[in-house]
């Protein structure tokens, strides 16, 4: 399969804390790849390595044939012009309107006449269903709307590669549905390569063609969503992560839960010892 991005034994650490440890993965061209895992396992670090914002301590990150560790500044800038990134909180420029936010990369990187820029802004905002919010300031937009404007901005230069950092976090069910549909349909319509970092299992699996699950800096599961369901049977971690089972609840009895609630002073009476023994 033709890979757009390749990680070859990539390691990265913050001080003594190892974030990524000898990671190997290949992200196929023209597909949606989800990178999943619990919070703090290095998913966003992976995106930053792809974008060249940080460099790997060892190993090689190749993006469309460019070695990110050895790329010159001009090569890096040229690569980023073909890349769009949707940040977790949108990262809209707070002193610009929604339309001006979308226009920002166009004004920075093109010498298009103003009427063409206005047409592109309208087109991109229309694509995310927010043409009517063109003149609004980011502070006046809801979280979901901000993220959609940020998506329109990320698409402004017609990128080949889209990076999504936790796009579903904190979204209401309607916005969530809109975002899912947008990501999937834009990827198909524009032929993008998309990398989606998320810990929202159901949402990510519903649109991903390929999935990597990362835990403690290592890839612990990979393949299509169907492959993962097969691997789940053999991996307790995958089972826990994909089914969303919290650590503490595993094996916790009702008696233990009631005793904990009583100890916390939540107005629930503790289960008497005699009753506990009879239950056991």
């Amino acid at each position: 399969m033709d890979s757009y991005i390749q990680f070859e034994r990539v390691s990265f650490s913050h001080g003594r804390r190892v974030i990524l440890d000898q990671v190997d993965l290949a992200i196929p061209r023209g597909k949606i790849t989800a990178i999943m895992g619990p919070s703090g396992t290095g998913k966003t670090t992976l995106l930053r390595l792809i974008g060249g914002q940080i460099r790997a301590r060892s190993g090689r990150v190749m993006v469309n044939g460019l070695d990110m560790g050895r790329a010159s500044r001009s090569e890096l800038l040229a690569m980023r012009r073909r890349l769009g990134m949707l940040f977790q909180n949108g990262a809209l420029f707070t002193d610009l309107t929604a339309a001006e936010n979308v226009a920002f990369p166009l004004r920075e990187h093109s010498r298009l006449p103003e009427d063409i820029i206005q047409r592109i802004i309208a087109l991109k905002l229309q694509a995310v269903g927010l043409l009517s919010a063109a003149d609004q300031m980011p502070a006046a937009l809801s979280g979901g709307m901000s993220r959609r404007v940020a998506l329109a901005r990320a698409l402004a230069l017609d990128p080949e590669l889209m990076l999504y950092d936790e796009p579903f976090t904190g979204q209401d069910p309607i916005n969530l549905g809109v975002l899912l549909r947008l990501i999937a349909s834009l990827n198909k319509a524009l032929g993008l390569t998309s990398v989606l970092v998320s810990h929202d299992v159901a949402e990510a699996l519903s649109i991903a063609d390929q999935v990597f699950v990362i835990n403690e800096g290592r890839v612990v599961g990979s393949g299509s969503p169907e492959d993962l369901l097969v691997q789940k049977a053999e991996s307790p971690f995958l089972q826990q992560f994909l089914d969303g089972v919290p650590d503490a609840v595993t094996g916790q009895s009702e008696t233990e839960a009631r005793n904990l609630a009583a100890a916390l002073g939540l107005g629930v009476p503790a289960v008497p010892m005699a009753e506990q023994e009879s239950v056991q």
């Binding site: 974008g51 980023r80 990262a91 420029f93 990369p105 920075e108 990187h109």
Partner: protein, 266 residues
């Protein structure tokens, strides 16, 4: 005894940590200064951004500068009149007020006000952009934040500071005129005539401009660096803003002594 030794060790550890952090901070500032300097002239490819910053940093500071300049001039006029009248030299009031303002108070007080009003705003703005990932977003759009955000603000501070200091001195001289001539009855011809005769365009005015340029340079640099280097949290923004005001004020006062000794020391 062992308690005394452990206290001493704790103190040494604290001192060592403080020295290491200060050295790291200074190192980061030197690297940052180099990186900004490389982008200062490329930033002129977008002059509109620099003009916007001169407006945001300079024009929006006008009110505080004009009001403060007016009051400082009024006080100087009043104090100067009281002192000079003891020596029957009230006709020298104009030159006393203007020299005090142009050589010293204009650049220094403007710089202190500028650090509090514009420097802190620059730091907070850049630090907030960092916290909300706006700077990262720019980087990922292949836009250099140092060139797009930092360099225009630095130029804005460099341009605005001498203009504001000149305005401060001008309004102060008018304040001195108001209290000395209009209220206390000093001869207006003496007030303006002495200024014309005694003030040197090079020794006094130009040196004042050089001082205010130097102050604009250090305040601009400290403000943009502290914003860019801020920890991306609300506490980090607050600390960075405070550091800008404190560091800028102390640097301005120290630099003022050095420049005064160089310019006016015999």
């Amino acid at each position: 005894m062992s308690g005394w030794i452990s206290s001493l060790l704790a103190f040494l550890a604290l001192l060592g940590r403080w020295m290491l952090e200060s050295a790291q901070h200074t190192g980061r500032m030197i690297l940052f200064t180099g990186a900004v300097f490389l982008r200062l002239f490329p930033a002129w490819t977008r002059p509109r951004l620099i003009i916007q910053e001169v407006y945001a940093i300079g024009v929006l500071s006008l009110v505080i500068i004009v009001i403060s300049g007016g009051f400082v001039g009024l006080v100087l006029g009043l104090q100067g009149y009281n002192i000079l009248s003891k020596f029957n030299a009230t006709e020298s009031l104009g030159v006393m007020v203007s020299l005090s303002l142009v050589r010293e108070l204009g650049p220094v007080v403007t710089a202190l006000l500028f650090a509090g009003r514009a420097g802190s705003a620059m730091t907070a703005e850049i630090a907030l952009m960092k916290t909300t990932e706006q700077l990262s977003a720019m980087e990922m759009m292949a836009v250099d934040p140092l060139r797009r955000v930092v360099a225009p603000r630095f130029w804005g501070a460099l341009f605005a500071m001498p203009l504001l200091a000149a305005l401060f001195s001008l309004v102060g001289i008018l304040g001195g005129y108001l209290i000395g001539v209009v209220v206390l009855g000093v001869d207006p011809a003496s007030y303006w005539g002495q200024i014309q005769q005694q003030m040197s365009p090079v020794d006094d005015v130009l040196n004042g401009v050089i001082k205010s340029l130097a102050f604009g340079f250090v305040i601009g640099l400290i403000a943009v660096f502290e914003g860019y280097d801020a920890e991306p949290t609300s506490l980090g923004i607050s600390r960075a803003t405070t550091r800008t005001v404190v560091l800028s004020s102390l640097t301005v006062l120290g630099l003022d002594f050095i420049l005064t000794a160089w310019m006016f020391g015999t």
